[in-house]
Symmetry: C2
Subunit: 110 residues, 2 copies
Amino acid sequence: MRREKTTQLTRKGWKVGTVREFLALSAEEAAYVELRLRLANSLRSRRQRMKLSQAGLAARIGSSQSRVAKMEADDPSVSIDLLVRSLFALGATSRDLARAISHSALPKAS
Amino acid sequence: MRREKTTQLTRKGWKVGTVREFLALSAEEAAYVELRLRLANSLRSRRQRMKLSQAGLAARIGSSQSRVAKMEADDPSVSIDLLVRSLFALGATSRDLARAISHSALPKAS
DNA sequence: TGGCGCCATGTCAGATCTGACATAGCATGG
DNA sequence: CCATGCTATGTCAGATCTGACATGGCGCCA
């Protein structure tokens, strides 16, 4: 939360947050980053299942290959809005989203 | 999708989209607006359950009363990002989100 | 009537996000 | 070796979103 504070200094990515809070994420921050990650993963797997290239997906949603790459990489410069819209554009339903969000579809960390 | 096109002209809200497409939303657009609506409703009811005023919630999330009002009104100027972060700030879990999203918690329209 | 708490709506400067472009890495097939 | 296709990463102008502020409405109690 309150990204602005550190923003002028870091002007690129999570950096500050991730490093400092590596072991001290508040519950809500953790939920937020995890949500993003799940959407990102979901997007990639859905795209691959459909045998689309990033450029192909980009064309569909009126964006560019590079932005799609960033979405899938969970780059801090992409919003949840964009992720969600892209998922819908690939035919995901609300239910699909809900599944992606609550189910831990995360790659096992350990 | 592709909001920019009409944006310079309308410079305020859904307007163009809503009126013109009143009966012709694509599936993805429908899913998107419905998702927003559900998050907005979810936020309001969660806040009320916690007996917080909009100003109170605003303070918690480092925002302002007016923005909270806009969130709950599903104003086009608020992003899903903000809605989601606010929900998390009120203690919602990923699972809560998923429920809000897939369950039709919409006020019955008729 | 006035004061008070709460919510809605408009506006705006400044912060953030976005598409586009450039460029590089890395396989696979020639 | 060189193409070709796909993905990753950086940059930037322009679009969008955000917090703050101002103001108005509504209900309620004195």
